[in-house]
């Protein structure tokens, strides 16, 4: 069974702070996706990382794929209230995505 463990489960920070959330597995993935999900809505794709060690930036969000392609991190710089939401990582070996439980981020103004 491929498991993706996300940490922390909950995170509450003040506006302007930096944060990092993690996605870890004992399995190797061909790629890893980060999604953001709002309550009652579908996951929205933020980024895909494919190569071990790859770093991708999306404005204030920095995503990194571990060298061994078993883990990933999402770093947010100068968090804003609009960043509040559930951040999901999902790994792929074939076509089915395996999702983590997510990190619920709350950014307080």
């Amino acid at each position: 069974t491929q498991l993706l463990e996300q940490s922390p489960q909950f995170l509450s920070i003040q506006e302007g702070e930096n944060l990092t959330v993690y996605c870890n597995s004992s399995s190797v993935f061909s790629s890893l996706q980060w999604y953001r999900q709002e309550p009652g809505e579908g996951p929205v794709l933020l980024v895909t990382v494919v190569t071990g060690g790859e770093v991708k930036k999306l404005k204030r969000l920095t995503f990194q794929f571990g060298d061994a392609r078993k883990d990933s991190s999402l770093h947010i710089t100068a968090a804003q209230p609009g960043d509040t939401g559930l951040y999901l990582c999902a790994g792929a070996r074939n076509t089915p995505l395996v999702f983590g439980k997510g990190t619920r981020l709350s950014v307080i103004a």
Binding site: Q33, G40, G42, L45, L88, T95, L97, G100, K101
Partner: protein
């Protein structure tokens, strides 16, 4: 920007009834998927579909479930005889290819299925 659409947004049905959930994938995508998310739990894979046939399915996708692409645009999930434990959000997703960009699966807004 192209997006996956799903109907209905909310379906309430009685236990034992059949339901059909509908999805319109992104038009140039070739791979289609159904996932479900029970309230408070992980998003779980149900089935993937390519070239008019199922390519992979999970243990959840038993004989009560079926998928179909009845025309060039719609992709449906049928649950033959619903059970209380089928209550969940059902998400349709689509992607361009198996390799490379196939991992970039784009999700619809979901159908909330409530079985009473």
């Amino acid at each position: 920007e192209p997006e996956v659409t799903q109907t209905p947004s909310h379906q309430v049905t009685q236990m034992g009834q059949e339901v059909i959930l509908r999805c319109v994938p992104i038009s140039n995508h070739l791979y289609f998927y159904w996932y479900r998310q029970i309230l408070g739990q992980k998003v779980e894979f149900l089935v993937s579909f390519y070239n008019n046939e199922i390519s992979e399915k999970s243990e959840i996708f038993d004989d009560q479930f079926s998928v179909e692409r009845p025309d060039g645009s719609n992709f449906t999930l049928k649950i033959r005889s619903t059970k209380l434990e089928d209550s969940a959000m059902y998400f349709c997703a689509s992607s361009e290819l198996v390799t490379g960009k196939a991992y970039e699966q784009y999700f619809g807004p979901g159908t909330r299925l409530t079985v009473t």
